[in-house]
Amino acid sequence: MKPERIDLAGVDDVGELVARVVQKRLSEAHTLATGLQRRDAQGLHDFRIACKRLRYALERFKRLEPSLEQVADGLALLQDALGEAHDRDVLLRILPPTMAATKRRLRIEREQSVDRAVALWNEADRSIEGSTLTKPQ
């Protein structure tokens, strides 16, 4: 999924740059969070990539705005959980039908990872709501 372009025309202040980038990447993650509810492989993948972009932006800007650090840490854990689910989706696609027991185990682990991702996203979302990220600049 391609990232949306961010209109930075006329921006000459770092604070304004941080605000515009973070708001855009945050809005993308919110839009794609429906994939987390659907729990399908493609939806989870798109949401994972959106969270990764948001996390990279937060980690880059936390030197300028320390309040971003806590949200970035939460997103790192969320990404681990989504990554584990994604890796299992990839492996499940190539395993032969004769490996039923391994497949069953992978499916269980995948669902546990998605459950963990849902809880971590809810937590991150609450933390974003309470941070300066959603406040008008």
Partner: protein, 122 residues
């Protein structure tokens, strides 16, 4: 914007360092490093695309990051299959694991070949 120019230069140098380390001695950790450094830098260039004129660099970084995709996928899949394999299915999995390990080796060599030709700083 001075901060942005400095950040781009810093991340660019970090990617070049990671590329050189991987090309010099490819292993799982160095593959991970060059891949994540590239992805981070690409994300920065995409975030500020309308403010900078780094289109050619962005495309090169994107190609560099994509060059590691197959190697990373193969590595992750091999490790996951080794750790999640049901003991009763070890015999069935053996040819698949061998095939995946061969893929991992070839993909890592392929990534090294592609990255050897790329430069991220002049």
């Amino acid at each position: 914007m001075k901060w942005l120019a400095k950040t781009i230069a810093r991340e660019r140098r970090a990617l070049e360092r990671a590329r050189r380390r991987f090309v010099c001695k490819p292993n799982e950790k160095r593959l991970h490093d060059v891949r994540t450094t590239g992805r981070r830098f690409l994300s920065l260039l995409q975030d500020v695309a309308t403010l900078t004129h780094c289109e050619r660099l962005r495309r090169r970084v994107k190609r560099g990051a994509a060059a590691t995709d197959s190697a990373r996928d193969a590595t992750i899949i091999v490790r996951l299959l080794e750790s999640s394999l049901d003991p009763g299915e070890a015999e069935i999995a053996r040819p698949l694991l061998e095939q995946l390990r061969e893929q991992e080796k070839l993909a890592t060599q392929g990534a090294r070949r592609k990255l050897r030709r790329m430069r991220f700083v002049s």
